[in-house]
C-alpha cells in the first residue's frame, strides 16, 4: 500500500468586490462575491511543502480587484471566464481553474414622485439591496482549451397557495400521511443550468440569458398544476430547455418548505386552508437534473 495525492485545488474564497461605474451623474453598481481555485502540478507542495508552483491565494484576491479595474465587470460569466483563462494561461504549473461568482442585486431608490423638491435626482447614485435572489455562475477552464459555463440562482423563495395536490403515493407500515387535494406548495429554488459550449447562444448576452431562464423557471413553477414537487421540478427544467437553445441541462434543488394546516377543531373552528404553520425542519428535499438527450459530456462543469 502506498499513499498518493488525489484530486485537489486551492484558492481564495469569497472575495467581496463592489464596483461603481460613473456614467456622468448616474452611477451603476455591481456587487459580487468571487471565489477562485487552481489545480495543476501540486504534488510538491502537498508532499514536501515546496511552494514553487503555488500562486498565493492573496495574489488571487489582488487579481480579482485588479481585473475589475482593468477589464470592468459586465456579466459575471464573462468576468469568471477572464479570470479562469488568466490563471491557466499565465501560470505554467496551473492546468485548471475554477471560478465561481455570486451577484447580489440592488435596485435604484426611486425618485420621489411629486414635485421634485430638494434632493430630486440624487437617486442616480442611491441604491437599495434587492433581497429577491442571488445570481450565480461556475466556470471551469482547462489547459486542454475547454471552458465550461454553468449559470444559476439561489435564495429564490416561491409559493403557490393552491393548485397543488399530493396523493396516490406508496404506503408502508410507517406511513401516516393523509392524501391532500389542496395544499400550499413552497420552495426555495436553487437552480443551475449548463450552457452549450457556444456561449449564451441566441441570447445577446449571459445577462439576457439569465433573465429569460429565471423568468421561465418562475413561470413554470407558478403555471404548473402540481401533483408532486418532482413534477414541478421537471416542468421547470423542461420549460427552460424548450425555450432556451443555449442551455443543455438544468439541475434543481428544491426543499419542500412545508406549510401545515393548523388543526383548529379543539377551538370549535374549521380551517379551510386559511391558517398555516410554516415549519423549519425537517423538510422534504427534491433534487433532480433535466437535460437534452443530445447534451455533450458535462465533464467538470458541475464540480
Amino acid at each position: 500500500m502506498r499513499v498518493v495525492l488525489g484530486p485537489n485545488r486551492y484558492g481564495k474564497a469569497e472575495v467581496r468586490l463592489v464596483r461603481v461605474v460613473r456614467d456622468g451623474g448616474v452611477h451603476h453598481l455591481k456587487d459580487l462575491t468571487v471565489s477562485t481555485a487552481l489545480s495543476g502540478d501540486m504534488e510538491a507542495v502537498h508532499l514536501t511543502g515546496d511552494n514553487t508552483a503555488v500562486l498565493p491565494t492573496d495574489t488571487q484576491k489582488n487579481t480579482v480587484y485588479a481585473f475589475a479595474r482593468k477589464h470592468g465587470v459586465a456579466e459575471i460569466e464573462d468576468f469568471a471566464i477572464l479570470l479562469a483563462r488568466h490563471y491557466v494561461e499565465s501560470q505554467p504549473a496551473v492546468h485548471h481553474a475554477r471560478v465561481s461568482v455570486e451577484e447580489h442585486f440592488w435596485d435604484r431608490i426611486p425618485v420621489p414622485s411629486a414635485g421634485g423638491g430638494p434632493g430630486a435626482g440624487d437617486r442616480r447614485h442611491s441604491f437599495v439591496r434587492s433581497g429577491r435572489e442571488t445570481r450565480t455562475c461556475l466556470v471551469h477552464h482547462d489547459a486542454d482549451g475547454t471552458t465550461t459555463v454553468v449559470s444559476g440562482l439561489k435564495d429564490l423563495v416561491v409559493l403557490n397557495s393552491t393548485d397543488s395536490e399530493f396523493s396516490g403515493f406508496a404506503e408502508d407500515e410507517y406511513t401516516t400521511l393523509r392524501p391532500t387535494a389542496d395544499r400550499v406548495l413552497a420552495t426555495e429554488v436553487s437552480a443551475r443550468w449548463r450552457h452549450l459550449p457556444a456561449g449564451p447562444g441566441k441570447a445577446a448576452s449571459y445577462g439576457e440569458s439569465y433573465d429569460e431562464v429565471r423568468r421561465h423557471l418562475v413561470e413554470a413553477f407558478a403555471g404548473t398544476y402540481s401533483l408532486s414537487l418532482q413534477q414541478t421540478l421537471y416542468a421547470m427544467g423542461e420549460r427552460v430547455l424548450n425555450a432556451r437553445d443555449e442551455i443543455c441541462e438544468v439541475r434543481l434543488v428544491l426543499p419542500n418548505k412545508h406549510h401545515f394546516t393548523v388543526d383548529l377543531t379543539p377551538f370549535g373552528m374549521d380551517n379551510p386552508n386559511e391558517v398555516f404553520h410554516a415549519a423549519d425542519r425537517p423538510y422534504g428535499l427534491i433534487e433532480g437534473a433535466v437535460l437534452r438527450d443530445d447534451a455533450p459530456e458535462a465533464r467538470f462543469s458541475w464540480e
Copy 2:
C-alpha cells in the same frame, strides 16, 4: 441580604404563521413571525414551581393561530394589540403583555406579458418572497389600560455611491485614518418608531403609516449629502417626525458597512472610487434616537 425576583416575562417566541385569504380566485398572503410574552403574578412559579398563574406557552401558540382564523390579520400592529389585550383581559394573573410581530413580504409573480397562453391567470395565487426588508412591530398592553405601539423595519440595506464625506474628526495618538471627500456610504437600516397614543393618526391605517415612514427613511438616506453617518441618522429621524404627525420618536441602529477603496497602485493602476472591498467586521455602529420635544413618556414602549 435577601434574594428577590426582579422583572420577568415568559411566552412563546417565533410562532410562524402564514395566512391565505381567498378572494374569489385571487389569493392574499400574510407571512408573520409572532412572539408573545406575559408578566404578572409570577412569584409563585419562580419560587416554588407552582404553575397556577402560568398560561402555557403552548396555549399562546394556539391563540396566535386561532386568532388568525377568528379575527383575520390586517395590519400587524392591530393583530398584536388584539393579542396583547386578550391576555391581560382574560387571565387574572397576567398584568402585562408584550407582543412582537415580524412581517415577511411577498410579491405576486407577474402574469406573462405576451399572449396569455397556458397558465395565464394562475399567478393570482403565486408569490415570490421579497427579500427587501422585514416589517416589525412591538406592542405592550398593561393592566392599567395603557397600550403602546412601536413600528419598525430591519434588514433594509441601502447605499449611496457618492455624496458622502468624512473629515474634520478628532484625532489622538491612535488615529491613522485619512479624511475623505468622497466615499461609499452603506448601511443596513434597523429602525423603530413610536406612535402617539392616538394610533396611526392622519394615516388611514398602520399600513399606510408604515409605507410613508419607510419612504421617508429611504428618501432621507438617499437625499442627504452626508458628512457623517450620524448626520444621516438624524436626518432620517427628523424627516419622519416632520412628515408624520402620528410618530413621536424614531430610534435607528445603523451599522456602517465599510466599502474600502482597494489600493491598485502596486499594479500600476489608479482607483478613482471604482473598485471597493466590502468588509464584514469590524464595522462602525451608529445608534441614536430622534424625538419630538413634546413626546409623552415612553415607559415600557421599547422594551
Copy 3:
C-alpha cells in the same frame, strides 16, 4: 413641536483580536471580539455633520489592538475597563464609554499519550476551539467616575433528561397541552450578572469569579428538580447570589428548547420517554432577573 436628539452612541463593533503570549515554548492564546461605543457632546455631528467631537471608529479599532500590545489582556473585564476609562479620560467630548467583550475559548491539544515520538511537546502551541460557551462582559464608564461591570456567558446548551415536570398550569379555551410528570428540559443559557462596585470581591480575579458563577449556574440547572423552567431560572440566579458576594443581580434568558416525545403508537410501539423530536420554532422563552434586595441602583449597567 421641535425635533430633538435623544440618547445616542457610536463606535466600532466586533473587532476580532487574537493575542498570543509566548512563555518560553509554551504559548497562551486569547481570542476576543471587542465592541466599543462612545457618547458625549454629539449634538453637532448629528445636526450639522461637524465631526470635531468624533474620535473615528477606525481609531477605536486601532486602540483595541494597541492596548492589547501595551497592556496585555488578562481578564476581559479588566481589559474593557481600561478601554472605557481611556476614552472618557482622554477625549474631552466623550462623557461615557461602553465596552463589550466576548471571549472564545480554546483548549490545548493534548500530547499523545504513548511513547512521545515525533512531535511530542509540539502541543505547547497547538489549540482546538472549545465550542462549549462564549464568555461575555459589558462595562460602562461615565465621566462622573462610575464604572459598572456586568459579566456573562451565552451559547451554553444544557439538558436534563428527567426530573422535570409541567402541570397544574392555567387553562383557557385555547389550551390543549396535557400535563406531564416527566419531560426533557433543555435550554441555551444566556446569563449576565452584575458585579458590586467593589469588583470581583472575594474572588482573586474576574476569571475566578467567572469560573465559580458558571459552575453554580450549571450545577443549579442540573441539581434542581424542576416544576417549571421559571423555577429553574430562579434557582440558578439564587444560587449564584447566595454563593458569590461580589454579585448583586443575575439576569437570565432561557429559551425552552422543546423535545417532544414522538407518538409511535401508529407503528405499534410505545415510547417511554426514549425517542424525541427536537423542535426549532416556536420555542418557549423565559426571561427574568434575580437580585439581592440591597442591590445598588443599576443605572446604565445593562444597556
Copy 4:
C-alpha cells in the same frame, strides 16, 4: 432534441432525533440530525405526477423515529446502514438510498467535587452540549448489494500559533504578499474518510474508528511543521491512512482562517507575532484527497 430526466433523488432532510437510554438512574444521550434520500423508478412522478413509486418524505421521517425505538442507535454509521437497506429492500421502486447523519456531542455535567451535598448524583441525567465538532457519516446502499460508508467530522477549529511558514511561492504582477517564516495557522477542519467495504476493520466499531481517526487528524495538524496548508492537509490524510487499515481515502476541506499581524508601528510599537486581527473574508480554501493507491473504485460513495 428531446428532454430527458437525469439523476434525481428525494427524501426528508434534517430530521432532529434525540434518544435517551435509561440505564438504571444513569441516562445516555444521542443527538442526531438524519437526512434520507431515495432514487429508483421515478420517471412517472417527474413526467406526470404519478406518485405510485413515491414513499412520502413524511414516512421517511416516521421511519427514522420508529427505527430509533425498534433498533436503538449505537454508531451513526450502523443506524444509517439500517435505514438505507430498509428502503431498498422494502420498496420495489427504490433502487438506491442515501442516508447522512450528523451527531452532536454532549458531555456529562460533572458531579460537584466537594462533599456531595444536595443534588449529588443528579448529573447522571444532566448534560452540557460540547461545541467542539460535529461527527458525520454518509451511507449509500444500492440494489446491486453495494453499501458504501464515509465517516467524517466538521466544525473542528484548530490553530498552531507557530511552526508555520509560507515562502518560496510563485509570483506574478499581482503578487504583493511577503514571505513569512513564522505565522499563525488556523483552520476549520471538514474531513471525510471512506471505509473499505469490510467495515470498521481492526476497530471494534465505527465509534472506535472515529475516535482514532479524529485523534490522528488533530495530532497531525498539531505535529506538522508547516510550510503550507497543503502540506498540512496531506500530512493529516497520510497519517490516517498509515494508521488505520479500515480507511482507503481521506478528503479534506481546510479554509485558511487568516490571522494577520497588526501593524503597530504608527503607535511606536513593534508586534512580535503577539497581536493579530482574525479576518472573516476572503479566506484561503484548500481542498484535497489523499488515498491508498489500491483503494477500490469510489462509485457513489462521496455523492
